[in-house]
Symmetry: C2
């Protein structure tokens, strides 16, 4: 028969998969693919292979842009195939293009949902009901500083004083300039935006570009770091303070707290209030965050 | 040492728990509690007990309103205690009050995130990025027809043409009128709002109460039914058609599709378009949805 099993791996290590999904991989699937360019799991592919007892094929950008997906769907016409996504399959990164292509080929699709930063950010104590539209923040360059996120934050604020989840840029397997010129397969080191970079970019847009007072240095924000992992952190402070918060390794997201805050939320924010040791030492300039080569 | 393990069970059966959470229950926890009044799992508590090899104590409204939670937290000061929540622990129903009370008692809290309707609704193909604030819809009574949800839908529409997830009322272990008068422990049968009831209530508010044209009979909506379970369904149609859609057993939610729809979303909506067999037969009046007594 065959079929495509779309499996969310959750946010932590190899054991944050659901039992149902694990059984599908172990007992049914002839081929296992791992989507590996929009997020990062706290477990290496080899760890996954060991835990599943199956070979795992990495799908990077090149795989998706080549005919790799077609090949996978052709397999799924006859055999059960698993497509693994860090977090949930549909939440932070949508894979509905894959579902539609499967439907075209009459391949049966089964989904295994899991946690995503889009719901697990509620571990901060801020209630999902009180969030407006989610936005994304890209790494700025000297010549490219997209600020469209500002409009959505404004909209969330004006309409009910809602919180905004700000998802931060991830650059995995980006070709280097040399690679682009020569066609060689050389990649930039994986790069993940930190909350301090995000806070500085947000203040830059408010103070230098838009100046509409949608937020300011005193706005309350929450850093979410490595949510779902053993060392997950939630840190609340002002946006100005966040520019110097050291939240540790990736992944980070940022929540801009709305103007309507429930008492329970207030108490959770107090609980997660930044402590002196959460900041970079005076004079140490925090940088955009890199992961060492080969970690992924 | 002790500690409180807050565990999301996901949306399907007993095997939608993560492997990490299952191991914590099996290997560490002396006591296991199940929060059982805000959602419904497609597995009975006895099924959970069998799968975990542990006794499961049901926490209903009475448990929470009595000093049951205090007793549980006192246990957690010395032993590992699991508190299980259908879906995710923080997404659709917040348990931050429990976390705060644990913090007060210096009880360590560990969270195990899982899928919730708040992210799994993206299985419909509608992208979470394009959702505004989530709203809840209560069962109307002859004298009580709360319509505050309408303002949030309006806000989501005006500001970016965003989708709205509408969570539907659940009534579990509600005392009967007789019980309220006599103090006896008699409960109404569990009751879950169906998408057809929700659609009729929404049209009532638009046509009879607010009349602001925020949506109408031709607005596109998506029914989500039993998301994460074997027989999950997504059905898209107009709001008028939804009044007669039979989406089967609970739980249902409804998505009011926004006015800005991406091409991929459009294609997924087509794929899930209601078929003739998805409607109640002509003349058969769809009722609010009940679960048989004892299913839960």
């Amino acid at each position: 028969m065959g079929g495509l099993h779309l499996i969310g791996l959750g946010l932590g290590n190899e054991k944050d998969i659901t039992v149902n999904a694990l059984e599908a991989i172990r007992d049914k699937c002839a081929h296992v693919y791992l989507e590996n360019y929009t997020s990062v799991l706290a477990a290496s592919p080899s760890k996954l292979e060991e835990f599943y007892g199956k070979k795992v094929t990495i799908c990077d950008r090149a795989f998706v842009e080549s005919n790799g997906v077609d090949g996978m769907l052709t397999q799924a016409e006859k055999e059960d195939v698993a497509f693994l996504v860090v977090g949930d399959c549909f939440a932070a990164t949508t894979h509905s293009d894959l579902v539609l292509r499967a439907h075209e080929k009459k391949v049966k699709v089964k989904m295994y949902y899991n946690a995503s930063i889009m719901n697990a950010c509620a571990g901060s104590g801020l209630q999902l009901y009180n969030f407006g539209k989610t936005v994304s923040l890209c790494f700025f360059t000297p010549t490219w500083k997209p600020d469209s996120f500002y409009d959505s934050i404004k909209m969330n604020k004006v309409n009910g004083g809602l919180h905004t989840l700000v998802l931060l840029d991830i650059r995995v397997k980006e070709p280097t300039v040399e690679a682009l010129c020569t066609g060689k397969k050389i990649y930039e080191p994986a790069r993940f935006m930190s909350v301090s970079t995000a806070a500085r970019q947000m203040l830059y847009v408010e103070n230098e570009v838009r100046k509409e007072g949608v937020y300011d240095e005193d706005s309350i924000v929450v850093a979410t770091a490595r949510v779902g992992q053993e060392d997950e952190r939630f840190i609340s402070c002002t946006l100005k303070e966040m520019c110097r918060v050291n939240a540790g390794g990736p992944l980070h997201s940022l929540i801009l707290v709305g103007t309507e805050v429930h008492e329970l939320e207030e108490n959770m924010l107090k609980h997660y209030r930044a402590k002196p040791e959460d900041f970079y030492p005076e004079g140490e300039e925090p940088e955009s965050q890199y992961l060492e080569d080969g970690v992924l």
